[in-house]
Amino acid sequence: MINTKKLSNKIKYTGTACLIIGALLIIFSFLFDAKRAFYNYIIMYTFIVSIAVGALCLIAIEYMSGAAWSVPFRRVNEFLSSAIPFLIILVIPIIPGIHTLYHWSHKDAVDTDPVLQGKSPYLNETFFILRLFICILLWIIFYIFIIRNSRKQDYSKDIALTNKNIKISVLFAPFAVITLTLTSIDLIMSLEAHWYSTIFGIYYLAGTLLSGISAVTLISVLLAQKGYFDERIQRRHFHTFGMLMFALNVFWAYIAFSQYLLIWYADIPEETFWLLKRMNGHWQYFSISIIFIHFIIPFIVLISSAVKTNLNILKFMAIWLLAAHWLDLYWLVMPAFDDHSLAIGWVEAGFPIFTVGIFILLFVYKYSKVNIIPVGDPKLKHGIDMFLYPDLSID
């Protein structure tokens, strides 16, 4: 029952080329400027976490809310979240970089700094590495359980598997929020260890869900336009994708503004220096353009319902928002590397290319093994038909 329509080989070759070029560029950048490359590596790692774990979160949300419209597209989410097991390899290069990246990992710096001393029970190397791996292991466990049940259903068509997955998803929800908060605090916020923001975890989580839904939208639109889905999949389905992208984008802006407003109002030097760094030098132009790129332009473009059902604009906005999330991570991470000027050059180029390569190859591989539509899901018929025609008969 595997997909009858094959993906063209071109996609596979593009993916392989991206992966190889990206990997080579990354290796060169490490040889050229190891410190800068480590910072970029953090951006890449958190971006891959965003898409992979974000996709898994969307699967969990679908099960918990009993959504039917997204069932035809659930496999796209599953394919994207298949990057989760690879995180355990991708995280390894960060470990030798701890001393380069994190100020708090130096013993002599901690000894003379009462703030870092106070944080040292949490911010120390052993606990840091332990947390990174515990988070990844938790994601892998939930990934395996949820995906295995979903695949089994293709053959057994058993409604009990859906119920099982609902329970697993409910269990996953708090873990997802906690692990993503820890990951973002550890990897990004502790780059400037003196700074703290209690809303930072949810800030990263908002970006994660946004990039998750954007990636799913992008791939679903591409597949639908090439005819890989059921022909009954309508533009109304994509209207919902557009709405979610719009809503999560506004949610991101809401959280980002809340963080800014509180720091602005309280005006405490411990908190303001982080923003001041981003409001001086070349960073101020970057900060202002982030507001436009990540919020105002997508808000204006996506507000109309005509746009949300236009697949080409939707595809473009999905790519736009993915790029915006990358820039957002760049804005969070890079001022710790250079607080005056932007570091943009060939060193930065390899990392996004590598990321694209990973996801294309994973998708191609999974597509050759697994059905692109969860044919055994009891909600599938309702999901496909729900915008087409009223169907009141209860099967």
């Binding site: 503004f257 407003l261 602005w264 109002y265 109309s304 005509a306 915008f387 025609y389 009223p390 009141l392």
Partner: protein, 403 residues
């Protein structure tokens, strides 16, 4: 209790039937048909719209998805209304906060600018949502549904009762250009309708105006309701329930100046500054109590400028003029009540060094008290400049005429 309500209801029904409000005349309003399944109603909608009817409507007990296409409905314009009122809310909020916080009632909060964007955004956000939601609903109800109008002929019919519980209904209004009673009844029957009825108009139109919101009766009723609400609220809050006056702001657990303290050992509630501390911009004066001969002559640190003279004049008029007079002639409004102060235009005063005048202002002389507690250091120097200007103006020599 329920008997009472029943009595009222019966009375209303009685009045209605007396007035003949429930009666219908023989003027046809529409032909209605009931259908059993949503598939039937969608088929009916398709047929009606493709036969070219304009004034027809579909009623269903729940929203049936996919009804827009068979009915050939245009996309709703509600979004534009919402967008318009939302933008209006944004602009109103920004303008309101800009005027209130920036001009009308300036308050320093945490050292921030009077008007700044970040704290205005939450209010702007709320007002945007409020206007987009409430105004859209209200105005659209009033403009398009003719809100207070409550005599649509479909009301109180068996048809309406059924389509709001278990049937799907379609009507074609008699106003339609293509309306033909017998043909439409036949059409509905052929579509599989279980019941076809004729609906007649009411005899009486309670509200006759085009826009019932402007109806005199309606506005009077609204006004009376507002009056009654206000009166009841006033009576119940002020007469029935007595609330103690709001006085938490005047009764605070804080130290008030010039009062006794039970907290500090010395019994004073005001504290002295720590010994040896000096105020900002105030250097201690080192020649206090010394005779003039020992005063070291320092020069005036302030430049000669318009601002300095204006400052000096203000300070002089406040602190010096009560005795020395506005022009320094010793002819003030207190003249005669005290030993007259000397004129500032005597040779002695004119030949004094700046620092000597400063010394006198700071430490006092004869019965003139010291002014160092009242006038800050630099302002005393500004006064010195102003006195010099006064002396020059009152004792101009011939050379000054040429300038």
């Amino acid at each position: 209790m329920f008997g009472f309500f029943k009595k009222i209801k019966n009375k209303i029904t009685e009045i209605n039937s007396d007035l003949g409000i429930d009666e219908r005349n023989q003027e046809l309003f529409a032909v209605s048909a009931l259908f059993d399944t949503p598939d039937d109603i969608i088929k009916a909608a398709k047929t009606l719209s493709s036969s070219g009817f304009k004034k027809y409507d579909i009623h269903t007990p729940y929203p049936v998805h996919g009804m827009d296409d068979p009915m050939k409905l245009k996309p709703s314009k509600l979004g534009f209304f919402t967008f318009f009122f939302g933008s209006l809310g944004t602009l109103t909020a920004i303008a309101m906060i800009f005027y209130m916080a920036g001009f009308d009632y300036k308050n320093i909060i945490g050292g921030k600018p009077f008007f700044s964007l970040p704290p205005s955004i939450p209010v702007t956000f709320e007002l945007t949502i409020l206007l987009a939601g409430a105004f859209t609903v209200f105005l659209v109800l009033i403009l398009f549904n003719k809100l207070p109008l409550n005599n649509n002929p479909l009301l109180d019919t068996e048809y309406m009762k059924r389509v709001s519980s278990d049937k799907f209904g379609a009507i074609v209004e008699a106003d339609d250009e293509l309306f033909n009673k017998d043909e439409i009844i036949r059409l509905f029957k052929s579509l599989g309708s279980s019941e076809v009825n004729l609906i007649y108009k009411f005899k009486h139109n309670e509200l006759t105006t085009e826009r019932p919101i402007f109806d005199f009766k309606f506005i009077t009723l609204l006004f009376l309701l507002a009056l009654i609400t206000a009166a009841v609220t006033y009576f119940s809050l002020n007469k029935l329930i007595y609330l103690p006056p709001f006085n938490w702001m005047s009764e605070q657990f804080k130290v008030k100046p010039q009062t006794q303290s039970t907290f500090f050992e010395d019994g004073y509630s005001m504290r002295n500054p720590i010994e040896g501390s000096i105020p900002r911009n105030e250097l201690p004066y080192e020649y206090r109590g010394l005779p003039d001969s020992l005063v070291k002559y320092m020069s005036n640190p302030l430049p000669v400028s318009k601002e300095v003279f204006e400052k000096g004049k203000t300070m002089y008029d406040i602190y010096c003029s009560p005795c020395h007079g506005y022009y320094g002639k010793g002819d003030s409004r207190l003249n005669g009540q005290f030993p007259n102060p000397p004129s500032l235009h005597t040779d002695r005063a004119r030949l004094m060094k700046d620092a000597a005048i400063y010394h006198i202002i700071t430490t006092g002389q004869n019965i003139m008290p010291a002014y160092d507690k009242q006038i800050p250091q630099l302002n005393r120097w500004a006064i010195v400049h102003y006195i010099r200007a006064l002396q020059r103006s009152q004792n101009a020599n011939d050379g000054d005429m040429n300038k």
